[in-house]
């Protein structure tokens, strides 16, 4: 039977993984991710979970071991953060280009140097071009739901790509919230057996990843792009299915709040969307016509959904918790390029980068920034611009 218990984001992920029953888990400790694999280790040692845990000597090996196990027919899971993900990066590409389904939880933390263990999205967006389906949760319940859905999406024959689920370190990972844990039998029935495009297990002589000429390689990579496009419908379908079965539907690749009648829109990803929604509620009470679009899936980039919501907007304010040094926030870049697929006339699209390296940005900060931005558009701002807002207190 489903039950509601108080769980940290890390443990919410671990409980979801337990229900997905992976054959093999491989991971390496890193703050703030470690409690995920600690919990899974406990589940395995107590006999609750029948998985093989490979306690590897590095993140590079963690994903490599997952890759090998997945290729040989196992459902696999790993989790990491920040430097760990960067250390894995080579294998991140290797797995998606092999079209091998697998799931990784990323507990975000900024990137060194200097030493800093607080969250922003820089580790997550750093994997942008790696061919993974990339989703980001807003709260612990969504972390649980997305982790389960990740297995379903990854192993769907329309997709066959690895899936990465992001949550912010500490903000979610170490904060307890009520999370509904689903019924084991029901999940098992819904998730079904693992599917993958091929298995290398010695049952027939088969090679994976040998030297390949340019034209054939390009064809393989084109297939990844096609799968990314197809995955959008699969993500929406899985979200609806999950909603019907378990009562929570999130709107597919994006979640919208007060969007139907809004003239201005704030766009964001991750847990600070909650603070953003709080700020916009207050502004709406004051008469501002403002909605929030929360990016749940960063890859594939949901430009159709964004256009559907943002067409006709008077102003769009994109909040990025990461910076592409020398350019802008990564969601902003994609959003502008995405909207230009549909129109040559954009309203002012302003990029606010903030919350870098774990700097706290609260509802009151969003309130001030949004009020000022709307004021600028109302007084004649004609085009977008970029601003790194450094909140100090």
């Amino acid at each position: 039977m489903p039950r509601v218990i108080a769980l940290t984001g890390n443990h919410a992920v671990a409980y979801a993984v337990k229900l997905a029953k992976p054959d093999v888990i491989a991971a390496y400790p890193i703050t703030p991710q470690s409690p995920i694999v600690e919990k899974l280790s406990e589940m395995i040692e107590s006999g609750e979970l029948k998985s093989s845990m490979i306690r590897v000597e590095s993140e590079h090996s963690a994903l490599a071991a997952c890759f090998g196990a997945a290729v040989a027919g196992a459902r696999v899971f790993t989790a990491t953060s920040s430097q760990g993900l960067l250390y894995m990066h080579e294998v991140v590409h290797w797995a998606s280009r092999a079209r091998i389904p697998m799931v990784m939880a990323l507990v975000s933390r900024t990137i060194n140097t200097p030493w800093n263990i607080w969250p922003d999205h820089s580790d997550f967006v750093d994997q942008r071009d790696a061919g993974w389906i990339m989703a980001y949760a807003m709260d612990n319940q969504e972390a649980f739901d997305l982790t389960l859905q990740a297995f379903k999406i990854s192993e769907d024959p329309s997709v066959y790509l690895p899936v990465m689920i992001g949550i912010e370190g500490f903000i979610l990972s170490h904060t307890a919230m009520p999370v509904e844990i689903l019924d084991e039998k029901q999940v098992e029935e819904w998730l079904g057996e693992r599917k993958q495009p091929y298995i290398v297990d010695g049952s027939e002589p088969l090679g994976l990843g040998g030297l390949t000429p340019p034209e054939d390689t390009e064809d393989m990579f084109y297939g990844i792009q096609v799968a990314m496009e197809k995955s959008k419908d699969t993500i929406r379908r899985v979200d609806r299915e999950y909603g019907k079965l378990f009562g929570r539907e999130y709107g597919g690749l994006v979640s919208c709040y007060n969007c139907s009648d809004a003239k201005y829109f704030a766009v964001a990803m991750g847990s600070w969307s909650g603070d953003l929604i709080e700020a916009t509620s207050k502004l709406r009470d004051e008469g501002y016509s403002l909605g929030v679009v929360r990016v749940r899936f960063y890859r594939p980039f949901p430009h159709e959904d964004l256009w559907g919501t943002l067409r006709g907007a008077k102003g769009v304010f994109v909040f990025d918790r990461a910076i592409s040094f020398g350019a802008w926030g990564p969601i902003y870049t994609d959003l502008v390029a995405g909207l230009l697929q549909y129109t040559s006339k954009l309203p002012p699209v302003v990029n606010v980068v903030a919350g870098i390296a774990g700097v706290h940005v609260g509802a009151e900060d969003f309130y001030e920034v949004l009020k000022s931005l709307i004021g600028q558009v109302e007084s004649g701002l004609e085009h977008g611009y970029f601003k790194w807002v450094r909140v100090r207190r």
Binding site: D23, V24, A26, S51, S52, I54, R55, V56, E57, S58, H60, S61, A62, A64, A65, C66, F67, G68, A69, A70, V71, A72, G73, A74, V76, E90, V91, W94, V200, D201, G202, S203, E204, P205, L206, G207, L208, G209, G210, L211, T212, P213, D216
Partner: protein, 302 residues
């Protein structure tokens, strides 16, 4: 004995897996080792291959020169991927397939060392084979930590390598894994029996195969086997097995415990262009290195 009664010293299955027409250089030792491997395991192997000569030798998509399974993996990851494959097969109840990490010296002694040490320490149930051609041959003969003292490479182009060869088998002995062996393409039957032994043991097994490379070591391709044997006969490369905490010298190396039975190292060096400019004091240093290795082996002898 009449000719019709002659039996091949390796089983006929050695004929079946390595298919003619691969992309290996003339006289390449690697397919020789693969043939011996196939004599033991047939096609029921999954070779986990990081960047190395074998990545190229097995040929181009959509074909491969081996009637066996191959997973090409990132350079540093052979032991880790093989760990994953082995665990997956175990969880799925597949027991008739041998997982073998098949890596060169660069992928083992250098970039893959952490993953190798990790898998060895965890005692993963797999066989790791390091074929040792003593440099980065696939990228064009650059120095590796397994390149011996004095050898010319494209990154030690004038003076030759100024350090001794890293002893990976010794490092694996220090991990106390169930089985460690050194072998050579010069002695296929010895390699065959070591693979058979490895097959009968559970847990992490490591075999280092000395593999003379004609273009990299600068010798006529016809001399691959001859030079491999000379490395053993001069005592430079010692054939042994480590099991249950003890070392057993293998047949070809056994008499060489007595230094007077060894052929002079110069016979080995002079056949290889990579030693053409070696300084005499480096030859003396190689002789001391050989003595040190034998002293180490003696400590573990049964």
């Amino acid at each position: 004995m009449s000719k019709s009664q002659v039996k091949p010293p390796l089983p006929y299955s050695a004929r079946d897996v390595v298919l003619p027409g691969d992309a290996a250089c003339h006289g390449c030792p690697i397919p020789i080792a693969l043939k011996v491997l196939s004599a033991v395991f047939g096609e029921k192997v999954i070779l986990v291959v990081p960047a190395c000569c074998t990545s190229v030798i097995v040929g181009t998509y959509p074909g491969q020169s081996l009637r066996a399974s191959i997973i090409h993996v990132p350079f540093a990851s052979a032991a880790a991927v093989a760990s994953g494959v082995a665990q997956a097969l175990k969880m799925r109840g597949v027991s008739d397939v041998q997982v073998i990490a098949w890596a060169g010296d660069g992928g083992t002694a250098d970039i893959g060392m952490a993953a190798l040490s990790g898998a060895a320490e965890r005692n993963e149930d797999l066989i790791y084979i390091m074929y040792d051609n003593e440099a980065y041959m696939n990228t064009g003969i650059q120095r590796s930590s397994s390149t011996p003292l004095g050898a010319w490479t494209t990154t030690t182009p004038i003076t030759g390598k100024s350090e001794h060869k890293k002893d990976v088998a010794k490092i694996l002995v220090a991990h106390s894994v169930p089985y460690v062996a050194t072998a050579s393409v010069g002695y296929p039957h010895d390699l065959y029996s070591k693979l058979q032994r490895a097959r009968s043991i559970k847990g992490f097994r490591f075999i280092q195969i000395h593999a003379p490379c004609p273009p990299g070591w600068r010798f006529d391709p016809k001399y691959t086997a001859r030079i491999a044997k000379l490395a053993v006969e001069t005592g430079f490369w010692i054939l042994y097995e480590y099991h249950n905490g003890k070392i057993t010298l293998s047949g070809p190396s056994r008499p060489l415990l007595d230094p007077s039975k060894r052929r002079p190292i110069e016979e080995y060096l002079k056949l290889q262009g990579r030693y053409r400019s070696i300084a005499p004091e480096l030859i003396n240093s190689i002789k001391e290195y050989i003595e040190d290795n034998w002293s180490w082996v003696k400590r573990y002898l049964l």
